[in-house]
Amino acid sequence: MSPNPQLFLLLLILSASAFVIGCYRRFSLVALGRPEDRLDAPGTRFARMLRLAFGQQRVLGKPFGMNHFVIFWSFIILAAANAEFVVSGVLPQAGLAALPAPLQHALLFLFDLVSLAALVCVLIAFARRLFFAEPSLSSDYVKARSPEALLILSLIAVLMLAYFGLHAARIMIGMEDPTAMPVSAAIAALMAAPLATDPTAVATWSWWLHALALLSFLAYLPQSKHMHILTAIPNCFFAGLERPNTQPREEFARGMRFGAGRVDEFTWKDLFDSFSCTECGRCQEACPAAATGKSLNPRSIIHALKTNLLANGSSLRAGETPTLPLLANASDTGPGEGSAGDDAIWACTTCGACMNACPVLIEHMPKIVKMRRHLVQMRASFPEELSAFFENVEARSNPWGIAPTERTKWHANLPVRPFEQGKTEYLLYVGCAGAFDARQKQVTVALATILDAAGVSWGTLGKEERCCGDSLRRLGNEFVFDRTARDNVKLLAERGVKKIVTQCPHCFTTLKNDYRQYGMELEVVHHSELLAGLLASGQLELKQRVAQFGTVLFHDSCYLGRHNDVYSAPRQVLATTTGASPAEFVRNAERSFCCGAGGGRMWQEEQEGERINLNRVKEALQQKPDTICVSCPYCLTMMEDGLKDLQGGAVRVKDLAEVVVEGLRA
């Protein structure tokens, strides 16, 4: 079927070589990363890959998602058509013509319709970029890189147009059955008048146009962000199964390097991520730092990894020092394309919104933490405010450096019992904020009152309780976190603790998820979950319906919601207590917007851009609440501060426990 099999074969060899060399170059760069096992639980991984890659679950969650879904499936179906094109281009006797007529008919029919669908979707994609660009598509970042997207779209469009040109011409010549290809037949009818003279020439030209578009696409693919069509599907398979907040442990021994300060200090999966990114910008849109004008853009972090790897690949392979730094010091002229800036790295709240948004499960946050680990542990370089934080946690095991003897002051006027092995059911892990922060201490008292009213058997570790180490870990001070975690796991085991209730989602996630890496398997619940259970079982009986808080708007804590999937428990508690489901933010549940204090941001100044808590409080005030209900000490502080700054009037911030405790008053 090919006009010139020899010439086509030559071009095919050239194009395939470019493709193979391009892929080899990139995948061999991926192999420079550190080892990491991503093959455990293959069944779970496979099911997730089907759902997210083939089902396009996250892509479909956004406007124009359907457009991508159609292009994705068109590519898969037309891969068969293009394979046939290539085979018959080299071996004219092979190809569809060799198949039985009904099958040939069915396939041609399918290819014809799918090609039309793909063409329509590509045109929509063009229009979206050129005429209806949403904010995430009009950033400087996208503008700088949009020619690449348009080039790829053009290639696909040319491929489809050539396909129709070829088949319409063949129908005109009588080589193909018009009933099998309704779209091509319609085009043939349109072309009949102007091109009646020489349909064979049209067929030849279309064939070559199709061939060149296809071979160019093949050769260009590994060089472009369109590489994702090869890497995104396996990336969904290899993505981490751990909760996104749980970074891997580091081993500490002399002579080792810690964190990632060079691109080859990431794992192979980190590097594979960078080739799976198609720069769609969903992470950027979800990121609270990016939304408030900080230097951080999760998409740029991933892109920087890729360009850094490409720039340093040859020197790394030769065992030399990389030429382009991965981390740009503030004193440098500014981060180039292949470097991540310090400001960006410290701006992350580790809220996990980027990872929740990424359609191909790229892991942005662990990479940022790895770079923080390098900065803290290898260079002792971090924002000035963190000096005091690190010293305080290390010397006095709380962020403020308050004397540990004051840890029990919150219950000066309450009969609080120590946890006793075999006698006490729940350890109430008070947490640093619950024990030292004046405002959060009120929440602790409320929670203690509720637990007593429900007859729950609980106790505390008293002055022996220590910081859980959440902020240390998210800030990359893994060395001190490691010691903290070992000490805490040992203490909890010695005391025979089996069940823990926390009021802080950060203690909650650290004890529940992070400490599992230290062999601790305890039942850890957040107070929202415990209260929901106690209310549902009737063990906690309220004496009155709580009405004094008016319209209650519930703010999801990132570490409770997105990181641990606890969405319904606090809402159930509010519904039972107040008699009405809480009001919701526009960005709620898994799309909730961070308060700005996670990831150790609580202990740093926020000078760049708009303050994240103000952004969130403005969103809250749109819903005209009387009360903003939170379930986290950081959120409590950030919301209250935000309300003060914005003159929030009579709007109050209450923890869930403070709402429930009002229901106990007769």
């Binding site: 080792m256 308050i402 004397a403 003897t405 060395f479």
Partner: protein
């Protein structure tokens, strides 16, 4: 040139309580920290090392567990750590302490010429601010106390210019080496140890010098050599404050009362 830093392990005073019966500090279970002013002294010595490549030695007089403090200094980058520890040194006041430290510095000076000795301005447990000047006097070094900035340092000319932070004013002074500086917190921001340095310091050894090495007269050191006797330690009784007005019901009224109160006590000038 050798730079010597004197550091002291002190109880974390925010956690210290006084036994009301014996009038002594209750030290059981109280963690020790590096005297905060000394961390600034250490930082300045390390900056001189970074700039000029000088060697830095940290010395400390104290019980054997003060080794932990010197390990911290090693983790930050000092080249040599020496613990001056002997039962004979125990119970020393500032005079006896400065004798031991001076002798140790003199001993170091015999191996490598000491150009600068840096101390914190005072310790947070004794608060005398006498040991630094005591060492300078005994060694015959120029003493530059309360330094908050090193203006100029020329090791080749052997001269240093520093700014002293005094009450309500600054004073810039110049002196020939060798000098002893006592430093205030404003001088610098102490660095944080890197993990490789911490791991190295865990393996590193701290030299221990007893009086066998220093050969000081027994009557001039320890309790015997200390003319100062502490007769009593006590916590001052703090009067309980009062609540002025009702800030919840009438915040403006409460603020008014508070201002009146402050003005009446000359704490606020309207």
């Amino acid at each position: 040139m050798l730079v010597v830093v004197c550091i002291k392990q002190v109880p974390d005073t925010t956690q210290v309580q006084i036994d009301p019966v014996t009038n002594t500090l209750v030290r059981e279970g109280i963690p020790f920290i590096v005297n905060p002013y000394d961390t600034h002294a250490l930082e300045e010595a390390l900056r001189l090392k970074d700039r000029f490549g000088f060697r830095v030695a940290a010395i400390s007089m104290g019980p054997p567990n003060a080794e932990a403090t010197l390990k911290k200094a090693l983790a930050l980058g000092v080249d040599e750590a020496i613990l001056l520890s002997d039962r004979a040194f125990g119970g020393a006041d500032t005079l006896a302490t400065s004798r031991v430290l001076s002798e140790a510095i003199d001993r170091l000076n015999r191996q490598e010429q000491v150009g600068i000795v840096i101390c914190g301005k005072q310790t947070i447990d004794g608060d005398t601010a006498q040991v630094g000047p005591g060492i300078a006097t005994r060694l015959g070094y120029t003493q530059l106390t309360l330094v908050d900035r090193v203006e100029k340092f020329d090791p080749f000319q052997g001269r240093i210019t520093v700014r002293r932070k005094l009450e309500g004013r600054h004073e810039t002074v110049e002196a020939p080496l060798p000098v002893l500086l006592t430093v205030v917190r404003e001088l610098n921001r102490p660095r944080y140890p890197t993990v490789p340095m911490r791991l190295e310091s865990e393996q590193a050894t701290v030299q221990v010098w007893s009086n066998q090495e220093l050969q000081l007269d027994q009557n001039g050191i320890g309790l015997k050599g200390s003319p100062t006797w502490v007769s009593r330690i006590f916590s001052p009784q703090r009067e309980k404050g009062e609540i002025v007005g009702d800030g919840v019901a009438d915040p403006a009224g409460a603020a008014h009362l508070l201002v009146d109160k402050l003005v009446s006590r000359d704490l606020l000038v309207v």
